[in-house]
Symmetry: C2
Subunit: 433 residues, 2 copies
């Protein structure tokens, strides 16, 4: 294939009329990239938004795809649809493989792409902390295919267990281990337990419910490390009500697909392990030669600029910045706020003004454990139970992109809530060709 | 894995109370299998429904998944959810690999399964008529993964073409060849053309619309062979309005992924070929040693019994039966009606009564070409245009299983119709692990 890389390599472009406007490349169409691009909407720049997916993924609800509650397309929105009316933006579906920082050049699967300013919003990837057997035999939860793979596998285990006479094997098929107790781990375990105890029990009339177990394994001595202690205790109580077994102080050392090996306890027989114990900056940033902090995140200046490259900004999960002495968490609100500041700083630089420093305004934290149950910390106030759950519902519906997606998710939630159903209980085939 | 195959091999069963009731195995959860199982709902039999998928697929709308209009889960319904209230039915997720007709035994991926009566409703598979290069490089449209693969590929071709400077290559990327002009081919081509001309043109502002082509290649001298001549002519006119190029008398001889080779014309450069030119009975029936007619279909008696095996019934696409001198078509209405008769004949045999002969009541045929356009033949009446399209909409919504699926499909159709949008324009990743 001949790619018109010239066009993207050289500054002048035939495509856009505003040939003399500077090019702002944004890598990643997650929460960061999206908000950076929108901030530049009416500015005299040419935006090149690059992602290896053609959709923006609403990751906070990914665990609901994994637990058969909603459909993948309800939390994915085509990037081109989002930016249809933003005339100064061009979308490129490409994998960014490197950055030549000294040449202002992105290396992509479709050839080099020039930029005058760069906003890296590449996000994070799963961190297995070197546990290769877990990476090989466990599931993670970062993209739509991961979520569908979990859904297919969980449902398939119930089908197989239904035909299995050997009791230990059958129990292992119905044991689901979630490693890590951040919001993703807690939400995933709660939703799995409800899927089994409220829905699958109706699908499998012979199911002995005490043979089905959902476990959370957490290395630390508490769950939900980002939340206040009392909310974590409330969440522990709710998890117990929902029959999720939480094992604190339990580190995982390996997984062979049949047994979860622990650091200082006997192994747990389980045919399913979901790894929600950590993320790290997308590995692309390892190849940039920039200083990196914990979890491989690029240590940025308070203006979000990369040290030594004032035209390069890093935001969101891929950026390391401290607030007080505490590193900013790898969460959507940080990415969104940083992206807006980075985009405004690009405009400041273009206008000859100094960039401003980023200051995080913490909107709080939310996590749901299932029906009628959530924990919420909002501006110093703390809630748990039904009211926190209503806040959780409202916030997630509000942030979801697109009226259709909101409507369809709401219908599925109502279905689930009123009828105790999970509509997407499908074991979908994977194309082998 | 130890499977409790004994339980399924021997007649007595711990599982079901009615241990002395005869076992009716039904292979396939398509239109045939579903209707056979439902017909046996309150009868003194034990039904074992077996399918390699855990869902019933509403195939008539599969082309809408392939053209980004609806989501896979909206036309797939979990088998266990359908039969939750049918106490005499047990579902087995398994691949049936053979039948030992003399031993009343099904061979499956989970071990042998005994039956007293068997209803084979295994459906059909794509018939490439020995064109291996087409099978290797083209797409077919039989299951959800096929439809998603087409959707991903079509959207990806537009992304690639957008970056391609070589005009012939770019044109080939935007050329979509549909082979075959039955309802599937016509509906698929019409929906593709509308996807490009009404939706993607908004996603790609630089798109030269005359570089995008949708072709139907038909070996015969007319389209829609199952429809009356005048309706086929009306469909031809509508296809022309929708910029679908129909090439009659054009047989395909091969496809290398870049060029479609024709029997007596120069090749057509095209990066996409969708094969909708034929189906044949599922290859399982080739291994049964039963007499087969055209398209590998098992030649059944007028009672739908397999010759020599009165306890075995074959229905739907896998069965060959003539109505007058004309073979019954491989269509849902035939499968549904035959399944009901086969199930009733099983009950007749159990009750010591003779089985009845099958008589097809033709409800007519329907095909849509896109917005406001369809052809319909119903009990001697023929319609085309807007009214036929309304009939098409109503009939398909009616036959779709589940209130939620109907609601979601209706929302997506309204979206598409009112906003000229296709919501599911996603290039989803395929899990490689």
């Amino acid at each position: 294939m001949k790619v018109n890389s010239e066009e993207y390599t050289k500054k002048p472009s035939r495509r856009q009329e505003a040939v003399n406007f500077p090019v702002v490349a944004i890598v990643g169409a997650g929460f960061g990239g999206l908000n950076a691009a929108r901030t530049l909407k009416d500015s005299p720049v040419r935006v090149r938004l690059i992602d290896r997916r053609n959709y923006h993924l609403f990751q906070p609800l990914l665990y609901q795809v994994a637990t058969a509650g909603i459909s993948p397309d309800e939390i994915a929105y085509p990037v081109r649809a989002i930016f249809r009316k933003q005339a100064n933006l061009e979308f490129l579906l490409a994998d960014v493989t490197g950055v030549e920082l000294d040449k202002n050049l992105l290396l992509t699967s479709f050839g080099p792409v020039h930029y005058d300013y760069l906003i890296l919003a590449v996000g994070s990837e799963t961190n297995y902390f070197g546990l290769d057997t877990v990476a090989a035999n466990g599931f993670d939860l970062k993209d739509l295919d991961d979520a569908e793979a979990i859904r297919n596998h969980v449902l398939f285990m119930f089908e197989r267990a239904n035909l299995e006479v050997d009791v230990p094997t059958r129990r292992a098929m119905r044991t689901f281990v979630v490693v890590g107790s951040g919001p993703t781990g807690v939400e995933c375990a709660g939703a799995l337990s409800e899927l089994i105890r409220l829905v699958l029990i109706k699908d499998f009339p012979g199911l002995k419910i005490d043979e089905a177990r959902v476990l959370i394994l957490e290395r630390l001595d508490r769950i939900l490390p980002g939340f206040p202690e009392d909310l974590a205790r409330a969440a522990m109580a709710t998890l117990a009500e929902k029959h999720v077994e939480v094992h604190l102080g339990t580190g995982v050392s390996g997984y062979d697909g049949r047994q979860v090996f622990l650091e200082s306890q006997p192994p747990i027989p389980a045919c399913t392990l979901i790894w929600a114990a950590g993320v790290r900056a997308e590995s692309l940033v390892d190849r940039l030669g920039l200083p990196q902090g914990r979890q491989g995140r690029v240590i940025v200046q308070p203006t979000l600029q990369a040290p030594g490259y004032p035209q390069v900004f890093v935001v969101g999960d891929a950026a390391y910045l401290e607030d007080g002495a505490v590193p900013l968490p790898m969460m959507a609100p940080v990415a969104i706020q940083q992206a807006k500041v980075a985009a405004r700083n690009v405009l400041h630089l273009i206008g000859g003004h100094p960039p401003v420093q980023f200051r995080f305004k913490d909107p709080g934290s939310l996590a749901t454990i299932g029906r009628n149950a959530a924990v919420a910390r909002i501006k110093g106030f703390k809630f748990h139970g039904f009211f926190a759950w209503l806040i959780w519902l409202g916030v997630h519906l509000f942030w979801l992109i697109g009226f259709r997606n909101r409507l369809l998710v709401l219908i599925n939630w109502a279905w689930d809530y009123l009828l105790y159903e999970r509509a997407v209980r499908l074991i979908t085939p994977e194309r082998r060709k």
